[in-house]
Amino acid sequence: MKRYVVRRICTGILTVLIAFALNFALMKMAPGDPITTLMGKDNDSPEMRQALEEKYGLNEPIPVQFTSYLKTALQGDLGNSMIYNRPVSEMISERVGATVLLGLTAAILAALIGTIMGICAARREGRIFDVVSSGTSYVFNSMPNFWLGLMLILVFSSGLGLLPSYGMTDTRASYTGIMYYMDIAKHMVLPVATLTLVLIPQYFRIAKSSVLQVTNEDFVTTLRAVGMSEKKIFNKYIFKNAILPTVTIFGISMAYLITGVTLIEIVFAWPGMGRLVMTAINQRDYPTLMGIYLIMSVSIAVVMLVVDIIYAMLDPRIRYE
Amino acid sequence: MENREFISIEDVAMWYPYKGKDKAKATGKKNWIKAVDGVSLSIKKGEILGIIGESGCGKSTLGRILTRLEKPTKGDCFINGVSTGAMIKKDAKEFHKTVQIVFQNPFDTFTPRDTIGKILMRPLKNYKIGKNDQERYQICLKGLEQGGLRPAEDIMKRFPHELSGGQLQRISIIRSMFLNPQFIIADEPVSMLDVSVRADIINMLIDLSRNQGAAVLFISHDIALTRYISDYIAVMYLGRVVEYGTADDVIKNPQHPYTKALISNCASIDPEEKVQNIAIEGEPPTPLNPGPGCYFEPRCYCACETCRQSYPEKIVMENGHWATCSRINK
């Protein structure tokens, strides 16, 4: 176990480094730089360009830039955003909450609803419930999440005027206390619904297929032969065996939480990381992009590790080699 | 028949490094799975040597080494005095032509994607047997018919899963025959087959060794069958040969306690012949760092102090029959 964990950590670190180098290389190779943004529109002063390049060390050789950045990053300092001139870590920490709130809520809801539906469908295989929910899950699985978001806005926000269409809070009202949280909850309804709807199918399918698979395992036949009631077999044995893949999927979707909600954040103007990323790309804000990427890689690596460990704890069969 | 040893296996060993699990830490040193641990045997031309032993004792590993699908950790085998290691280095194709293997599971011996025709033609093409495809096709037809597989043309068109196990196993042997091998290893060739069809395979192997003078190594855990087919039998335990002799000697007059237990436990189909089974204590062993004493000692019903200290010597009896047990003459 220990060796396994160590090895996984090594892989994680390697991934982060490679991700990082890749990202750095891509950004440096790409046309455009943050200077354009810094100089502002309709400004072509070569002196200013040169002065800015010097100021941000962009005229140094790329390996030098890389190592110097890496060095500070290893010390836990992500540097300052070139555009906003604020610590990147601060910018990320301000945003990450919103993303996690959105992504986590949706992931949990989807996992719960999807798994329950999947189990129900598996138990009623071939019946109306199964056919309908499988069909629906296919359709939602095929739906671009941004489009679904737009359609939901069209119906629930502009059509029926029931729910706010953008943002996290009502800027005008600026509520406090319990009302503040109610307000956030209200703003969350549409984006969370969108995300949940597109996430449900994968849980549904994995739950359904693993229940079906486990149901056909030999040990279930044994339990039947023992005279155990179907209900008990399900609750005590099938469930525990079948829930494992869901755990993995949930873990993986946790890891990709930040990337997964990018489009939704843009559709709903949700003040999260996804938008920070898009802005940073457009502005070529190197430190911010690198910082986000680093955080993202690290969190994926960590979550994956945690998932593996949890999985190992749940499933005694796993051996570490 | 030539009297010189045709195949000689000299002190062959196959140790796999043992990965994982915590035991490794306790002892500190590297752990080995000694799948085959110093086996020396010889086979004459036209002779069938049977190898028996319980699951995991290294029978298949030995077979794989002899076909050079794996390189032994130690030792080598010689065909006509030439090292197989050298042979495969010099000309791998030629080596594989000389040594052929028939596997246990006929259902899995052929790629499910190709027709039998294609499968049979491949080695012919590889070895440039026959001038053109047409001639090769004829060779295949002839082979199939000789093996009792009729209508051959129809069988050539079929896919492996459309044939029965017995048919497949026969095709597997026929395919080996195309190359005129001098040494055939049959690794449990009938254990996956129905009783009613396996006789064909056994008879085919016997004919092969008799007619073509090929040496055959017959691996099986079915003792009765092994005795039936073999001239000699070697009994393996945890990677070592513990007893060797002519088939009748070993079966009727077993010397090693393990052989005795094995044979006594082997039920006969004759219901009247109720023998007293010799029980073996303990759980089946693993080949992980066995020794230093006799490997069978922990389960042996007549073990003594000497067995615990060092691996017993080979004790040779009449008729080339030998066993490694310190208690034999006492």
């Binding site: 892989t11 390697l14 991934t15 490679i18 991700a19 890749l22 990202n23 891509l26 950004m27 190779m29 790409a30 046309p31 296919y138 359709v139 699985n141 095929s142 671009p144 941004f146 489009w147 737009l150 359609m151 806005i153 069209l154 502009s158 990709y256 930040i258 990337t259 990018t262 489009l263 990323v277 898009m278 790309i281 457009n282 992009l289 990427y293 993202m296 890689s297 994926i300 994956m304 | 794989r64 699908l69 594989h96 040594v99 052929q100 246990q104 599971n105 259902f107 899995d108 011996t109 052929f110 790629t111 499910p112 994607r113 491949r122 080695p123 590889n126 597997s172 395919r175 190359l179 996956m192």
Partner: protein, 282 residues
Amino acid sequence: MEKMKKICKTIKGDRQLLAGMIGIVILLALVILAPVVASENPHHYGKDILNSLGQNGHLLGTNHMGQDIYSMIIYGVRTSLRVAVISALISGVLGVLIGGVAGFFGGKVDTFVSELINVFMMLPSFFLILLIIALFGNSITNVMVVIGITTWPSNAKLMRAQALSLRQRTFVKSAEAMGETKLQILFKYILPNGIFPVIANTTMGMSNAILTEAGLSFLGLGDPSIISWGQMIYTGKQYITSAWWISAFAGIAIVITVLVFYLLGDGLNHVLNPKHLNRGAN
């Protein structure tokens, strides 16, 4: 002949596969027959702008540029299928080769490659695609290549697992014993026998490629010189309340196409599942 019959039978036997097959045939027909089926050239910027459904003979209306939405949807199939097929092909070929080599040769090669696969699996791929496309330009070729080279790891992983287990299979051992070379074995035995889960996965990958392309287009990173549903949604977004048909139908087209590939992939998964293919390997 018989083979064809059998294939037909398996297709008929699996409802999802059947639906997927019918879907894909229709889509392919649309690709070929687009000029016949479409009512006008989708690149024609006509006089009728923002026509609603059925107005002036525009079945699904027009957009602000005067392009016929129905025709655009029809021609959009070409783009989506092209993206799907080419990117999946790139991803499939890379995955199969890399995974196959790793699994078959094993040892150090495998350790190295599987670590590489692990690393690539953990990279946030949509993000990477986004970054590359945003930074390096959004031609459809870029999009296809980038999707292809960022999604191979899952294929490689599948292929590696297949190769690893196939390597132990008797027919591979027996091929080796029959004197076939490593390369022959890899291409004649390992790849053909191990490729089916990859094919199913690749089909699923096609759905994702279509969705990814749509997502990129939605962020304004689509190729402007082609007709793509993602871009229709993107431009239609401006008209979402006044001319909803621009983005709504494009979205439905995406849903249907992606659905077809999902059904196909799932169906293939059932049918090509190695469990159904091999006997005696239980």
